[in-house]
């Protein structure tokens, strides 16, 4: 690939210590993110999908340096984010911003909308002081709000409008990377479309790079260029949109795709649908083999003993499964 890489993550691990009584050192950890690698090209949208607890949001927060990183490297541009501390980290935050899932809890209810958007500029020295008022007004216009609405408090806006304020705040520091942590999951479907289209428009106008976290495959298919599927803190499959949705290789991706509700009876009753039973194993003591083995219809003895590595099947499409053949044939159902 000739594209310039903006964000690269190497072997990222985030383990949370379990709360222990008193002052003793924690004995066990929640393996929220357990060694993932990915690269995002400048100006592209990279999606991470997975069910609740798969570690996708933790990945987003780790990139934002909002949770402690256990090990691994995160590089934004030419800067090692994971090594920054204190003042350096504060300066670097300008280049990465985040849009949160819940527009009701992500805006400080005591601060007026204009001040919410202006605050990042004041804290991170964006532009000249005298320009900032105009910059804020311009941002309001860009995200589809009217500049007069700056004086209102968050509770005076609707959910979609609040999310627009969240987008404006994220853009206030003129970042390169915007992490979108399920930015539309809490919104009505009609509003979802507005916000998604807004994000696409802003990407085209400002050349933004998105790390887009979602559990909604429809949204991901619509907005993302590349997609990684996470399960139990690991990436099980990664590929460009077309290849991943047309020819899913990992049984879990397949299961996710067959879980998308459909009004079309032909799709709904397809014989090769995989219906998952049960829950993922606990991330506190993840199993030694493949994390998906306990729910996978194709699992064999090998799967519970050895963890499959992510391997590239074709350009831009890789999978972590023992039984995907090297020429890209997914595991077949035994009759």
């Amino acid at each position: 690939m000739t594209e310039e890489t903006l964000l690269s993550i190497e072997n990222l691990k985030v383990h949370f210590p379990l709360k222990t009584r008193g002052f003793s050192a924690p004995k066990s950890f929640v393996h929220a993110v357990d060694g993932i690698d990915l690269k995002i090209a400048k100006g592209k949208t990279f999606g991470i999908v997975g069910e609740s607890g798969s570690g996708k949001t933790t990945t987003a927060l780790a990139v934002m340096r909002l949770v402690p990183i256990t090990s691994g490297a995160i590089t934004l541009g030419d800067q090692r984010l994971d090594r920054l501390e204190g003042e350096e980290l504060r300066r670097a935050r300008r280049h990465m911003q985040i849009i949160f899932q819940d527009p009701y809890s992500s805006l400080n209810p005591r601060v007026r909308a204009g001040a919410i958007v202006r605050e990042p500029m004041d804290l991170m020295d964006v532009g000249e002081k005298s320009e900032r008022e105009d910059l804020v007004a311009e941002l309001f216009r860009q995200v589809g709000l009217r500049p007069e609405q700056q004086a209102l408090f968050p509770h005076q806006f609707s959910g979609g409008q609040r999310q627009r304020i969240g987008v404006a705040r994220a853009l206030a520091s003129q970042p390169d990377l915007v992490v979108c942590d399920e930015p539309v999951s809490a919104l009505d479907v009609a509003i979802q479309a507005q916000i998604i289209n807004l994000l696409r428009k802003l990407q085209a106008e400002l050349g933004l790079t998105y790390l887009f976290i979602s559990h909604d495959l429809g949204v991901v298919q619509y907005i993302c260029d590349d997609i990684a599927v996470m399960y139990l803190g690991k990436i099980v499959e990664m590929g460009d949109r077309i290849s991943l949705f047309k020819e899913p290789l990992h049984p879990y991706t397949w299961a996710l795709l067959s879980a998308v509700p459909s009004a079309d009876p032909a799709l709904r009753d397809r014989a090769d649908r995989i219906r998952l039973q049960g829950d993922p194993p606990s991330p506190i003591d993840p199993p030694p083999g493949c994390g998906f083995a306990s729910r996978c219809p194709f699992s064999q003895a090998l799967c519970t003993m050895e963890a499959p590595q992510l391997r590239t099947i074709r350009t831009g499409h890789s999978v972590a499964c023992h039984f995907v053949s090297d020429d890209g044939v997914p595991p077949q159902r035994k009759i």
Binding site: F23, R90, F100, S106, L107, P109, R110, A190
Partner: protein, 309 residues
């Protein structure tokens, strides 16, 4: 793409539908937050009533003493004269001291003790609670054990010990009350900080590189204020009552007249001369009530969510 068209359509529909709602919002006059809060407060009848009552009490205890110069310790008339007696409109106590003079001159001590004890309680409680709630971990562990230590002490006994160790004076009584009553504020502040700390707008604040200090003071504290304001006003009322209790037990400066002191010194005569304890009691009641009403009103006025849309 069909999907795209559909969303565009939805987009335009929603934009077409929204103006009526938005103009409605803009009718709200945009004014300074403090002015807005003052306006909200003024609309709250109970709070305004409380404020008027408190102003009246402050005038009575701070201004009236200059005009009603009878010394509250002077013997002015026959002991236990009922209210309405010549020279002693509120009657006299068992030594013949003027009760009106006691009310007028004793109020300032009561109010001073109440206010400064509550202030001390809020300062200690807020510092301990906010640090424990915000930082969590071992900071929380240590601070909460200390809080529990103060919580399990019998408060009245502990305050009595402090007052007895030092010479009883307005300052020591206020200190003793403050030291025994900050735990409720600390617990409340901690729980509020714990709750707010985990909200997304704190993550947002951190991601726009706010310092811990900024987050604690400018982001979390204003949002934690409503219950804390109410708690603080309750603390004022509680401190006034506590002072009355200590005075009742004889643990106050015997050279300073206060409402609690009046009740304490006349308690043996309650059956024969109700006015000696009832009149100062009514003034304590009115003071605590006015402060609580104001606290409630402040809470409502400073909470943007409760404002009309």
């Amino acid at each position: 793409m069909g999907r795209n068209d559909m969303s565009e359509q939805a987009n335009s529909q929603i934009q077409a539908a929204s103006p009526s709602f938005e103009t409605e919002v803009d009718i709200l006059t945009i004014e300074h937050p403090l002015r807005e809060a003052a306006r909200m407060f003024a609309r709250n009848k109970a709070a305004v009533g409380g404020l008027i009552l408190l102003v009246g009490i402050l005038i009575l205890t701070l201004v009236v003493p200059f005009f009603y110069t009878v010394d509250p310790f002077d013997l002015v008339w026959a002991p236990l004269s009922p209210p309405g007696t010549e020279n002693a409109p509120f009657g006299t106590d068992y030594l013949g001291r003027d009760i009106l003079a006691g009310i007028v001159h004793g109020g300032s001590a009561t109010l001073a003790v109440g206010a400064s004890a509550a202030l001390l309680a809020v300062v200690i409680g807020l510092s301990v609670g906010s640090l424990a709630g915000y930082y969590g971990g071992w900071v929380d562990e240590v601070l909460m054990r200390i809080t529990e230590f103060f919580q399990v002490l019998p408060t009245l006994l502990f305050a009595m010990v402090i007052v007895a160790l030092f010479r009883p004076s307005v300052a020591t009584v206020a200190f003793a009350i403050g030291v025994v009553s900050w735990t409720a504020v600390a617990r409340l502040a901690r729980s509020e900080f714990l709750r707010i700390r985990s909200l997304d707008y704190i993550k947002a604040a951190r991601s726009i590189s706010s310092s811990n200090r900024r987050i604690i003071w400018l982001v979390i504290l204003p949002n934690a204020m409503p219950p804390l304001v109410v708690q603080a006003t309750l603390a004022v009322g509680g401190a006034i009552l506590f002072e009355a209790g200590l005075s009742f037990l004889g643990l106050s400066d015997p050279n300073v007249m206060s409402w609690g002191f009046m009740i304490g010194s006349s308690r043996d005569y309650l059956m024969d001369a109700w006015w000696t304890v009832t009149i100062p009691g009514i003034f304590i009641f009115l003071t605590v009530l006015s402060v609580s009403l104001i606290g409630d009103g402040l809470n409502d006025a400073t909470n943007p969510k409760l404002r009309e849309r």
